[in-house]
């Protein structure tokens, strides 16, 4: 049994079936990609797993326990982190505060501890600060820890979002188009970073991406979605050769990218 198991998942918005018969499994240490044309239902799948939507049918299980239709903050506390297609940082807060917010769920000192500034409060604050700075150092953002997040360059904002998600100690990380808007150099660095994250933090990474070179290079397994249905799964080589996939999606890109 895998850490994350999805079976027969589907969701309907009124008359529109956005996703149907979706199956998926992921374990820590794996790197799997989800690809498909725009509007295929990829982000919808992510939203279902992270509790933003409630499924119409099907099951989503983490550690064997159902997490379908649970509140998003609860799902994160259970071990699933994510980043967003359009970067959702806390713009007005500092880089450090963004990552510190990720440690919020590990707080054990209470409300009165906060008000009365107990030693418990200070201990945890210092510890979280230390962990946050370490994380920022890993992502080469520590020198700008006190910058406002919205003043970071785009590529660094993406990395900060990933760092923030990692601060929540997830076992599964969902990355939604992390390479969007990056130039080839940045994409190469991102590839390294994603591999590093998988190995160093021992998480299972589920990736939505449009850049085929990146996807083919780093994924162990690829699931292809089109119009809400899975049309192919397998290794990068298998998927590349699959005629249905080529027809639906890869056809022109294979020669272009």
């Amino acid at each position: 049994m895998s850490l994350l198991e999805i079976n027969n998942l589907s969701i309907q918005f009124g008359g529109l079936t956005a996703l149907t018969g979706f199956r998926f499994a992921l374990d820590p240490g794996q790197l799997v990609a989800l690809i498909g044309p725009n509007g295929a239902g990829k982000t919808t799948a992510f939203n279902l797993v992270t509790g933003v939507y409630a499924p119409t049918t099907g099951t989503i299980a983490l550690d064997g326990k159902s997490i379908a239709a649970r509140p998003p903050h609860r799902i994160n506390q259970l071990g699933i982190g994510r980043t967003f297609q359009n970067i959702r940082l806390f713009g007005q807060l500092s880089v450090l505060d963004n990552v510190l917010a990720g440690f919020h769920q590990e707080i054990t000192h209470g409300f009165w501890g906060t008000l009365l500034r107990s030693s418990h409060h200070w201990r945890e604050e210092r510890e979280h600060h230390r962990q946050a700075m370490e994380l920022l150092k890993t992502f080469a953002l520590d020198s700008r820890a006190h910058w406002q997040a919205r003043n970071l360059p785009y590529g660094d904002q993406r990395r900060l979002e990933i760092a923030r998600a990692l601060a929540t100690s997830p076992r599964i990380l969902l990355l939604d188009e992390p390479a969007a808007g990056m130039n080839p150099t940045e994409k190469a660095e991102l590839m390294q970073l994603i591999r590093f994250i998988r190995d160093h933090f021992h998480v299972g990474i589920w990736l939505i991406e449009h850049d085929m070179k990146l996807v083919m290079a780093i994924s162990e397994r690829i699931t292809v979605l089109d119009h809400g249905e899975i049309i192919a799964t397998g290794s990068p080589a298998e998927v590349q050769a699959n005629p249905k996939v080529i027809e639906a999606y890869l056809g022109s890109t294979l020669h272009g990218a």
């Binding site: 903050h73 994160n76 506390q77 007005q92 807060l93 917010a101 003043n151």
Partner: protein, 453 residues
């Protein structure tokens, strides 16, 4: 990048005692001000202004927590103030009424009496909440059948309630048991009166049983201080309870919708008070012992500022700011937005209630007209002028906006015109607030971590 540095409400990492200098200034001036006021060295008009400023500081800072830091839009802050004021003034007033009417302040020597009152409130309040919870459960069951079922259910309950109350009103003694709502109303009142009526004599009995030495200590300035404290905290807790009651149902509202809901709540409070005979109705409560002077008012203002500061510059404060910035992202990293919002609401309401209680014991009489919508608006203007999230800005704005109308008094009929013009100009020139969301002290003194940044 320097400018952006200072906009960050980062957590205080260094010295636990780091506070900011307007606060330090207040801490230094507080004993001096108390002494001077007691020595009656100030012109009473001037002293009054200073006290009003202190009240407004507490109110504005508590509203800053709700509006600025947790990013909600509350237009009903005066409602919380009213709850605190009446819930503190009523027992004080009642204690005066039962004891003789001389030397008001000497009568505030029984801390147990208001304590019992607040226990009564808690008991009755829990009963009412329990009934609401049951009703709510029924409605949720109905909703399974469909929204129409719930609407019909609501209509049925409303009609039932109204006819029941109409039939049961104007009767002496207990209404017949088939009139469920009237009976409920009657028995809850009876419970409240019984507890209260037994309260005072009981505390006198208890006091009589205490050994001599303890009784002496409890009589003097200690008892006086404790009684005042119980009244203030009791008023604050009642307002906090109201904050919880209003905060939970409006959780899913955002922006303007939340504003209207809070506005409605404040109006409900005003109407309830207006129609409540024991609370004085439209004529209000008078003969409230006036114990709240410079010392109490500024003591509370300082404590409020410290509390809100500490809450903001902590992990919980970061969570509130995160929810303010982006709720979806905040919940994606494990922060429960509902929890943060409620916490801000309840804490803000508590301090508003304490400020209201202080106000009641400063003026000596209160009417619903003291807590109308305009009061809420004045407070929202202070918070807006301050800039979202800036506590020293809030203090400055409270001072400026309380003093300015007074300074303009010499302009008689042009006063409000000039005041309003000044507000417009300030908003045009500096929409981000007086301090633009920043604080007045350098990062180093705030005790933040990385000074080298």
């Amino acid at each position: 990048m320097k400018r952006s540095d200072q906009l960050l409400p980062g957590p205080a990492h260094g010295s636990p005692w780091a506070s900011f200098w307007p606060l330090l200034l207040l801490l230094l001036l507080w004993p001096i001000g108390s002494f001077l006021q007691n020595a009656a060295l100030f012109d009473p008009y001037f002293a009054r202004i200073i006290c009003l400023v202190g009240l407004n500081i507490t109110l504005a800072v508590s509203l800053q927590l709700i509006n600025g830091i947790s990013g909600q839009f509350s237009l009903g802050h005066a409602g919380f103030m009213a709850v605190g004021a009446y819930m503190a003034a009523y027992p004080a007033h009642a204690m005066l009424a039962t004891d003789a009417k001389d030397a008001h302040l000497r009568l505030l020597t029984n801390p147990l009496a208001p304590l019992l009152f607040y226990l009564d409130i808690a008991v009755v309040g829990l009963c009412v909440v329990g009934i609401c919870w049951l009703l709510f459960g029924v409605f949720r069951l109905l909703r399974r059948l469909g929204n129409w079922a719930m609407a019909v259910g609501l209509l049925v309950v409303a009609i039932w309630l109204l006819t029941d109350m109409a039939m049961g009103s104007g009767q002496d003694g207990a209404p017949p048991p088939y009139l469920v709502w009237s009976s409920l109303n009657y028995w809850l009142h009876a419970l409240f009166d019984a507890l209260l009526a037994r309260g005072l004599p009981m505390t006198h009995q208890v006091a009589a049983m205490l050994p001599g030495a303890v009784a002496d200590v409890l009589k003097g300035p200690v008892a006086y201080f404790l009684t005042c404290l119980v009244l203030l905290i009791g008023g604050g807790l009642c307002a906090a309870g109201a904050g919880l009651l209003i905060g939970i149902p409006v959780l899913r509202l955002r922006g303007d919708y939340l504003a209207i809901a809070t506005l409605g709540f404040a109006e409900i409070i005003a109407v309830l008070i207006n129609n409540s005979q024991p609370l004085g109705g439209a004529l209000g409560l008078s003969d409230i012992p006036r114990f709240a002077g410079f010392g109490w008012i500024y003591g509370v203002a300082i404590l409020t500022t410290i509390a809100v500061w500490r809450l903001t510059h902590s992990a919980r404060g970061r969570a509130m700011l995160a929810v303010r910035e982006d709720e979806v992202a905040a919940s994606a990293i494990g922060i429960d937005p509902a929890h943060s919002r409620i916490m801000a609401f309840v804490v803000g309401a508590f301090f508003a209630g304490v400020a209201g209680a202080l106000f009641a014991h400063f003026e000596g009489y209160i009417t619903p007209r003291h807590f109308q919508f305009m009061r809420s608006i004045e407070l929202v203007v202070m918070v807006t002028l301050a800039g979202a999230g800036s506590l020293s800005g809030t203090i400055l704005a409270a001072i400026v906006l309380t003093v300015m109308p007074e300074l303009l008094r010499s302009f008689s009929e042009w006063r409000m015109v000039i005041y309003s013009l000044l507000l417009i100009i300030m908003m045009l020139l500096r929409p981000e607030g007086l301090l633009g969301g920043r604080e007045l002290i350098p990062r180093r003194w705030r005790g933040d971590a990385d000074v080298s940044a």
